[in-house]
Amino acid sequence: MSLVDTPLVTAHDLGFRHGEASVLSSVSFEIFLGDYVGILGANGSGKTTLIKLIVGLLEPSSGKIELFGDDPRVFRGWDQVGYVPQHVFKNDQNFPATVEEIVASGFGRDERRLSVPERRSCMEQALESARVAHVRHRRIGELSGGEQQRAFIARALATRPQLLILDEPTTGIDRTSEREFYALLKRLNDDGMTILLISHDLDAVAREVKQVMCLNRTLVYFGAPEGLHHPGTLETMYGDGKQVLFHGHEH
């Protein structure tokens, strides 16, 4: 099996319960190198739970999840994973950190062993990739929502990971920032990075990603975005009685 055929993330009959309530059940999928997957679903459909299971922040109640072939709780190759959690840094706008310090916090063991000029070069690449070089000395709390989000993406890119995981990255940012953000993700994916993205924005995600994963406490659909138009998919995803309007353009 070639490297491309080896899944980066594998879920086998994955389930998670919170007390008596089932949050996710019977979820199985594989994500391969170069995939660009949008995870869609209504509030409470288990999207964030799935991401937390993938990165080992939660433990499955049933089934199995693997990250680069390992159980995430014993996985040690975190340099290969860039993670931007939901609401990161939304709590304290006075946190005393510059964008450069945020990005440097993403450096792994390998980057810390580099010489100062080499480390600077890594920093430059991450800042440039996420287009935040111009605000590198600004405090993170002084930036707009879009700039803050890009700063944390720059941090996630600092180790040049193979897999980038983003939880609701476009919440609270304006349309222009959102367009720039998706352009950045497309560029990274074109360069070979695997991207896993949670979003509420059905239109934007269906337009941008290569595959969509629809959740409603279980896996409703996983495949090309065009499949969302199949009868029953969106109804199952969002529940009966809800009409979902698909726009082919931006608002």
């Binding site: 975190w78 993670y83 840094f89 006075n94 946190f95 005393p96 950190a97 310090e101 000395h137 405090r139």
Partner: protein, 271 residues
């Protein structure tokens, strides 16, 4: 006041040396407490350390070890309860803070013919720093400096977001426990000079003053160190000159720096 005359007295020299060591180490830990909105931990530990004084007097064991044992145990216990999520972090701190102070007061009131000035442990004193206290403080300062130097990035990341730290491979529970134990060690070792009720303030106020300057994390840490050391030196000199409780004098000077930074930022140095 002839400063050079200070060095003629061993106890004063020790007080200054101890003060400078505390001045270095307090904001190093304090900055992580403040940015994590967990400043009250230092206050809770200082109240626990007062209970440690009471227990050590009753059990007739060296006060430093009584205080160290109780503070480290309380710090680890509070961290465990906080991280379990079963009790809110602030509630844990409030419980320990009030409970330990109440117990200390009850225990001390039951002791008769006490040959110790409790005020020294509450508010600090220049004259009570022994060579042994200085040695213990030096050991703890070395431990803290080593810990911060080796774990700076992990501590920064954990302060920023614990989940982000976990997904970067940081063993957050272990790091938090080590941090809490060291904070307890600093409180125990600082008891003699700053006093149980004021050591928390020295960990927090220089950092709050430096935060007013609105810089990045490392620069804020450097400013905190400068403010803390200046507060210690000026406070101790005032304490010596006017026969004041050293802890109170140090903390009041630090408060002065805070108000200067607070109002300066808003009215003097505004862009």
């Amino acid at each position: 006041m002839d400063i050079s005359s200070l060095w003629q007295f061993d106890f004063l020299r020790r007080a200054f040396e101890a003060g400078l060591l505390i001045g270095i180490v307090a904001p190093l830990l304090g900055i992580f407490l403040v940015v994590r909105r967990y400043s009250l931990l230092s206050d809770a530990l200082s109240h626990v350390s007062f209970l440690g004084v009471a227990l050590a007097l009753i059990l007739k064991i060296p006060i430093f070890f009584g205080v160290l044992f109780l503070s480290v145990s309380a710090a680890l216990g509070m961290e465990r309860l906080r991280s379990s999520g079963k009790i809110l972090g602030e509630s844990v701190v409030a419980l320990v803070l009030s409970g330990s102070l109440a117990l200390a007061v009850v225990l001390l009131s039951s002791l008769r013919g006490l040959n110790v000035n409790i005020m020294n442990y509450l508010f600090g004193s220049l004259s009570t720093v022994t060579p042994f206290d200085l040695l213990m403080l030096f050991v703890i300062v070395i431990l803290v400096l080593t810990f911060i130097a080796l774990r700076y990035h992990q501590l920064f990341l954990t302060a920023l977001d614990e989940d982000l730290a976990r997904v970067s491979g940081v063993r957050v529970s272990l790091l938090n426990a080590a941090f809490a134990a060291l904070a307890a060690g600093v409180v125990a070792a600082s008891l003699q000079i700053v006093g149980a009720l004021l050591i928390g303030a020295l960990m927090v106020i220089p950092v709050l003053a430096a935060l007013e300057l609105r810089r990045g994390f490392f620069v804020t840490l450097v400013f905190s160190e400068v403010i803390s050391l200046l507060s210690v030196v000026i406070g101790l000199l005032l304490s010596y000159r006017f026969d004041l409780a050293s802890g109170g004098a140090i903390v009041l000077v630090a408060m002065g720096f805070y108000f200067f930074a607070f109002f300066g930022q808003r009215f003097l140095f505004r862009d």
